[in-house]
């Protein structure tokens, strides 16, 4: 049975409406979002670069879940300052992960760094998640616990 992978459909699936030629080269969608880990003192920092949409959000969900599993008392900070687009699937994962940390795992709230980065903070504010997420201007603020609501 063939296994279809959404990310590797052949380029000829992109047709113009009149069937004349292709819409153009398909960029490497794996590069749409990258997730980097680093440890700083008593914290694990996940840095996200690029677009968080329905294609890439599941990878962020897995990264955060894996981090939860490995925290053993450490703080988790997710740095969104390099995010270029935050769509509804990404918002859903941030909300679910924040709820999971507190309600199901008994961890401290998930700390998110948003800077003044419009691509990340604007969608968060539009849907009102700024009311429930722990948001910080910088990784240093997140580590110190100086959140935006203070």
């Amino acid at each position: 049975m063939p296994v279809l992978c959404a990310a590797v459909k052949p380029a000829h699936d992109e047709q113009t409406p009149h069937g004349g030629g292709h819409v153009g080269g398909r960029p490497d969608r794996e590069q749409l979002m990258t997730v980097r880990w680093s440890d700083q003192g008593d914290a694990t920092i996940i840095t996200v670069h690029g677009d968080i949409d329905g294609l890439t959000a599941p990878r962020l969900r897995m990264a955060i879940a894996e981090a939860f599993d490995r925290l053993s008392g450490r703080l988790l900070v997710v740095d969104l300052t390099q995010v270029t687009l935050l769509g509804s699937p990404g918002l859903r994962i941030l909300r679910d992960s924040a709820e999971e940390a507190v309600h199901r795992r008994g961890l401290p709230p998930l700390r998110l760094v948003v800077d003044e980065t419009r691509p990340a903070i604007r969608p968060i504010e539009i849907v009102g998640l700024d009311q429930i997420l722990a948001l910080y201007h910088s990784v240093a603020d997140a580590l110190a616990g100086d959140d935006l609501h203070c």
Binding site: V3, P17, G54, R92
Partner: protein, 147 residues
Amino acid sequence: MEAVLPADWVAPSIARDRVRLWLTAHRWSPAHRQDLVLAISEAVSNSVEHGYGVCAGNAISAALATPSDTIELYGQVITNRDGVRRAEFTIRDYGRWTPPTVLGDKRGHGMTLMRACADEVIIDHTADGTTVVLRSRPLPRPPLWPV
């Protein structure tokens, strides 16, 4: 601008690339451009997820979408007599709309983002599919010199 996209999760990113380039060529201001790119990304995502029933990151559901399942994207700039411009986008799919609640997400944010990032959002569900029209906020005529 027109494009036909496959009904899978690559579609929103292709739509974003195309709309970003097109609006840049029309000298749309960066903040307005970013809003429209997000709104269109959400509309195309809705077609993938709720029109064709492809769950995010779910390869089994992706197999349900056939190669003939497509999402059409059209864009045009409408200029009135005063030189005020609006971009109008149409996103059309031929899937069967599945309400978000059926897919288990009662708190989807896609519609909220679309309504906040466009001046007008018109959605038409029929038995043959869904058509979404997004109209931008008005912008003054572009400067005569390169930005």
